[in-house]
């Protein structure tokens, strides 16, 4: 197919874009897999300690022992508490009451205020929990009660993700996002460019069936996506240690289907816009934000208000990511992803038919 060859040629000539297309997903994987972390550590804190006694000093030391906390400053007065938050220097301030040690030993009021910066709610709740746990443990030691009677010990086991590496969560998400964005963006822009320069009309008037003209635009990106898919998988498995616990075969089938859907989405976008700029704005900004935020990639969809969950159901990435997690991480079989496969297939068919119809209308 001469058209397809022309498309390939066009793409390969643009080395810069090629490079970005192939390298970007990998870099993103690495970045997000390793850099993004919801685990809290290295939180900076400050202390206001009017007691300066054995207990307070010990507690402050204990807080710093592991890498959860870093002592940033010792404050000299209550007034400084406000100021230190305003410069964003610390995430938490620990305020001790006076005569802390004495009160602690003799049953008086030994108070600790954990003032956390609520502007980052997650960190705030986690670090206050950590801190109070550490302080509680200190107290046990101090009181030298060898065994506290009637103690229930919860043993915690984390499944599938023993070291809580964030990568497990993000890799499927990044896969979903990259494929959708690259396929949808590339295809829509490529076609929009032809529209803008007027060459589209020429193509559509040629003896080739319109369907083939359109598809030929999508084919190179299809192959590019496959290359990307395999490289992403390779890096995930060999570099990041994210396993493919389930069937590789079904993972590929699923991904191919998803690539189809994404390409079709690109086709649809290009059928409604007239300029490259518009195609790009829609696919980059209009797709990217919802995909990132509503596909379940970053935030769990269960917490969202209903209408957002409905929107999320329309985003192909959401289904793909769900299915990938099931196969790659939970090691489930094909039966588990039947629903997702059906949804994606339906989306693909719907998108392609709508775009086709739009293109046909244009011809008439």
């Amino acid at each position: 197919m001469a058209f397809v060859r022309k498309e390939f040629h066009h793409i390969f000539r643009d080395k810069m874009t090629m490079l970005i297309l192939l390298v970007m997903p990998l870099l993103m994987l690495v970045l997000f897999g390793y850099a993004l972390n919801t685990e809290v550590k290295n939180s900076k804190f400050a202390v206001y300690d009017p007691s300066h006694d054995e207990a307070t000093r010990a507690i402050v030391e204990k807080l710093q022992i592991n890498n959860y906390f870093i002592l940033q400053k010792m404050l000299k007065s209550q007034a400084e508490v406000d100021a230190v938050f305003k410069t964003g220097e610390v995430a938490m301030v620990v305020v001790f009451s006076e005569n802390f040690y004495e009160n602690l030993l003799h049953g008086g009021k030994a108070q600790i205020q954990l003032i956390a910066d609520g502007s980052d709610p997650n960190t705030a709740s986690v670090i206050t929990t950590y801190a109070s746990t550490i302080m509680g443990n200190y107290q046990l030691e101090l009181l030298k009660v060898g065994k506290i009677p009637y103690q229930i010990f919860p043993e915690v086991k984390l499944l599938y993700n023993p070291s809580m590496v964030a990568a497990y969560n993000f890799v499927p998400g990044v896969m979903g996002m990259i494929i959708l964005l690259i396929c949808a963006m590339m295809t829509s822009i490529s076609i929009a460019r032809e529209k803008e320069t007027g060459t589209m009309e020429i193509l559509l008037v040629s003896p080739m069936k319109p369907l083939y003209v359109i598809l030929s635009k999508a084919v190179p990106y299809f192959f590019l996506s496959i290359v990307n898919l395999f490289t992403i998988l390779a890096i995930s498995v060999f570099v990041m240690g994210v396993p493919i616990a389930g069937s590789f075969f079904w993972l590929i089938i699923l991904s191919l289907l998803y690539i189809f859907v994404s390409l079709a989405l690109g086709l649809l976008i290009s059928s409604v816009v007239n300029t490259q700029m518009a195609a790009m704005l829609i696919s980059a900004m209009g797709l990217m934000m919802p995909v990132m935020l509503l596909s379940g990639m970053l935030f769990p969809t269960e917490n969202m208000p209903l209408f957002l969950q409905l929107i999320s159901d329309v985003i192909p990435a959401k289904w793909y990511i769900l299915a990938v997690k099931k196969i790659m991480i939970k090691g489930l079989g094909a039966e588990a992803i039947i629903l997702e496969l059906i949804v994606l297939a339906v989306m693909a068919i719907a998108l392609i038919s709508i775009s086709l119809r739009k293109f046909k209308i244009r011809l008439e």
Binding site: M16, G136, E155, Y160, M280
Partner: protein, 371 residues
């Protein structure tokens, strides 16, 4: 002043572009309205599958206590680990609590008992926080038991430490307070990062830039004329964002608007400079788009938009240091939520100014009127 004519032209073209001019104002509105609703990490309504091998009054009380908490929703009480595991596999349960067969005996006689918590950690937030909460409830329960079974002697073990938690600036720990200022920054950066860059590359692609290159218009004037309209647009968008945030979320900056404007100006300067640099090195719109896209996505994630910079490994923190977004997001949050004043924000100001100077100088130098 030659630049007057250039700016006139830019504004006219912007107005005439039906898509871009509408998009630029509608998009922020929609994003701000919808996204903070989507974005949250609050952990509640976790599905818990319970395996009670003991079935004593003690174990049942524990289960009831957990059921009463708003964090957990008990999906089933099953009899073996395997079926509970299936619930996790089918995503029907997030955690499993297994109470061993000798729970009551261990607790009452040996004064020490264990329970097993297994958490689905594919979503590490849910897994981590969820198991922590559950463990917390278990510990609370054991303290209750202790005070019942050891009425008098218990006092000596009763802790003298009274720990209270206070959450400043966001007492109810609403996640949207965290997200909204950051989303504003993200929008601003997309509009000031994408658009001027595309503008120039578009002109390169259709040849009109050549017409400019052959005129006596200097590099500096040309670049300035391309930036100024987007600054104006950015400023307008920022104000729309304030309005939307107030309207939908009742959020109004605690600190001074002027401070925000000041920082926004420097930020927009820096970021549009970045866009310009990219456009100077791109020959086609596609190239520019991907470069911009890549940079923006990287910056957005690495700048503490959604996970704190402090959580990142050291090497990642270095990368975030070169992101103007990081500084501005911090500033936005500080001013919006805490009312920080300009004096508190000297460091980010210097950083942003530095970016602005370097990037724009680079943009002017790398713009070649002749090949």
């Amino acid at each position: 002043m030659i630049i007057k004519y250039l700016i006139e032209k830019e504004f006219k073209q912007f107005k005439r572009n039906p898509f871009v001019s509408k998009f630029v104002f509608v998009f922020p509105f929609i994003m701000l309205a919808i996204l903070p609703l989507a974005a949250n990490f609050e952990v509640k309504d976790l599905n818990l599958s319970v395996i009670d091998n003991n079935r004593s009054s003690y174990s049942q009380r524990l289960v009831q206590k957990i059921a009463a908490s708003e964090y957990f929703h008990i999906t089933d009480i099953s009899y073996n680990y395997r079926s509970s595991l299936k619930s996790i596999e089918n995503d029907e349960a997030d955690l499993i609590l297994e109470i061993p067969a000798r729970f009551e005996q261990d607790l009452v006689r040996d004064q020490e008992a264990k329970v097993m918590i297994s958490a689905n950690a594919v979503n590490s937030v849910k897994g981590g926080l969820g198991s922590a909460y559950l463990a917390g409830i278990v510990t609370e329960y054991s303290a209750e038991i202790r005070s019942e079974l050891m009425p008098a002697g218990g006092k000596s073990v009763q802790s003298g430490m009274d720990i209270t938690k206070l959450f400043r600036f966001n007492p109810l720990l609403k996640y949207k307070y965290f997200m909204v200022p950051a989303i504003m920054v993200m929008l601003l950066s997309m509009i000031c990062g994408f658009l001027p860059a595309f503008n120039i590359v578009l002109e390169k692609e259709n040849g009109t830039i050549e017409q400019m290159n052959v005129t006596p218009v200097g590099k500096f004037s040309l670049i300035l004329s391309k930036l100024i309209p987007y600054w104006v647009v950015g400023f307008l968008v920022l104000n729309i964002c304030f309005g939307v945030a107030w309207l939908f979320y009742g959020m109004w900056p605690k600190g001074s608007l002027l401070t925000i404007y000041l920082f926004a100006s420097v930020f927009v300067l820096a970021f549009s400079g970045l866009g310009l640099v990219i456009s100077n090195y791109s020959k086609t719109l596609q190239q520019a788009m991907f470069m911009v896209f890549f940079i923006i996505i990287t910056f957005i994630f690495m700048s503490g938009l959604y996970t704190p910079v402090d959580n990142m490994p050291q090497w990642a923190q270095y990368i975030s240091d070169i992101s103007p977004l990081k500084y501005f997001i911090r500033v936005m949050r500080l001013v919006y939520l805490k009312g920080s004043a300009a004096a508190d924000l000297r460091e980010p100001f210097l950083a942003l100014s530095g970016f602005a100077i370097i990037l724009n100088t680079w943009a002017v130098i790398s713009y070649k009127k002749a090949q």
